[in-house]
């Protein structure tokens, strides 16, 4: 989906978070459109996690504005939480529940009805080719399957936006690409994807990419334009150029 014509679903204006004297995020201003795949990159300690927590309605900003799916990050955090999905490598599925129990659990949390949950479960199991594994404990699934299931569960309630925090760590290169197929598929259906990653080739798969350094957005554009702007061949070199002089890499 084109990023310029679709309506924005994330809008921030000088969004700032201070912890005492420390400015974790300093006046972040950007927009993300419906159906866009937006790469949110930055060095360790640059302020990505703090920014994500504010956008998800989990952390109150110190100043500035932000609207997520049209809801205000100060006053409408519960509505934001219903409109977004979230997946990280660390927290995702319950190991001692089966595949279908996990789907039922998350769908239930988001208030879906029993018939809705039934049809959604059938649909997901088919899409993921996990029909035979419906009654398998998640702990017995290979990591790659867990990640795919975890992503599908994070969008089970058909949110406007899904936040993916380093979703593809640790899997083989084929599985990593299958995961991106799922991302593309969701984006084609109009789900906005907000993703962080340390794999710089994945930055190239995004429509646009922002790179945070020391609490500010140091660059934001399509990968093609960024490479052109910096006169470099790939996103890894662009990232390196911007982040290598970061003062905060030591936290």
């Amino acid at each position: 989906m084109s990023s310029t014509t679709a309506p924005p679903v994330i809008v921030t204006d000088k969004l700032t978070k201070r912890f005492g004297q420390f400015v974790a995020c300093n006046e972040l201003t950007f927009q993300v459109s419906k159906g866009e795949i937006f790469g949110f990159l930055g060095a360790n300690g640059a302020g990505k996690t703090t920014a994500m927590r504010m956008l998800c309605g989990l952390l109150k900003p110190s100043s500035g504005k932000a609207a997520i799916a049209g809801f205000d990050v100060y006053t409408q955090t519960e509505k934001i939480k219903r409109s977004i999905g979230y997946m990280s490598q660390k927290f995702s599925l319950y190991d001692d529940l089966t595949v279908s129990e996990n789907i039922r659990f998350y769908a239930g949390i988001y208030g879906m009805s029993i018939p809705q949950i039934k049809s959604k479960t059938a649909q997901l199991l088919q899409e993921l080719e996990l029909e035979k594994e419906a009654k398998t404990l998640v702990s017995d699934l290979p990591l790659g399957w867990k990640q795919k299931l975890s992503f599908s569960v994070s969008i089970v309630h058909e949110p406007d936006i899904v936040f993916l925090d380093e979703p593809t760590g640790g899997v083989d290169p084929v599985t990593r690409r299958q995961f991106w197929d799922l991302i593309y598929h969701a984006a084609d259906r109009g789900v906005t994807i907000f993703v962080t990653t340390h794999y710089m080739d994945e930055a190239e798969y995004c429509n646009r990419v922002s790179i945070m350094v020391d609490g500010v957005i140091a660059a934001l554009d399509s990968p093609t334009n960024l490479k052109q702007q910096f006169g470099l061949d790939n996103m890894e070199d662009v990232f390196y150029q911007l982040a290598r002089n970061a003062k905060r890499k030591a936290d």
Binding site: G42, A43, N44, G45, P142, L143, E166, G169, G170, V171, D172, P173, V174, T175, R177, W180, Y184, D188, H198, Y199, M200, D201, E204, Y205, P223, T224, K227, N234, M235, E236, F239, Y240, A243, R244, A246, K249, A250, D251
Partner: protein
Amino acid sequence: MITLSNIKKTYNKGEVTALKDISFSVGKGELFGLIGPDGAGKTSLFRILTTLLLPDAGDATVNNFDIRKDYRQIRSSVGYMPGRFSLYQDLTVEENLNFFATVFGTTIKENYDLIKDIYQQIEPFKDRRAGKLSGGMKQKLALSCALIHKPSVLFLDEPTTGVDVVSRKEFWTMLKKLKQEGITILVSTPYMDEANLCDRIALIQKGEILSIDKPDGIIRSFPTDLYAVRGTNTHKLLQNIRNYKDTTTCFAFGDSLHVTLSSDPQTLLTYLHDKGHTDAVIEKTQPTIEDCFIQLLKN
């Protein structure tokens, strides 16, 4: 410096095979990479070589010491940086380093030269508790602790996982320096692009070695021509190429698609033009280690 012959390891009374039949050796001063995803068996291999785990079958030596009989000698002559951060979180940076030096019967002062370049970067924070450090700093402290007794062999299990590009580059620069000191290094990583920084690599998946060679040797053995295809709508391009009758493989690689074909690329280009990709470009390209890994997985 390191030899393995027919090493096998299973868990859960043989239900889960971690290592099938692993044999290879690493020479003195070599920087050897184990490249593979989670579950490939990398950590089991490290634990066997550092004498923390016994194999079901097979033999291995480190520094000519046997992993079963001579575990004491091995433990005192190697450095090990496990994948999970395993320093004492509630000791400070300096306390951790001091602890490891003392355990190995040495002092920070005695081997300061070896760790100087690395430790100096975290020395300003030497009174901070290890648990409060950032990922990149923890990594540097763990490496300092693994080096403080001047080991002849260094085992590094996924030292760069989860750290950003800048820290990863710095880390590999440090490894090159340690190699120049004559230290033998066995390092594992899930990042295929780091393979090129090793002298030799083993590509490993599900307990089996898929290939073992110098990085450029692995690249040269890629069995067919590889083409890079670029166009404006990459996702549509990917779908169209996958549905093309002569496509053998097609995977996204950064800003292009890497494709292998059973016919000539010109015909593919015509097909893509017909599908509306009027700006599509096809050119022959050099495979990367990741291309080779994918190719080997297919077999």
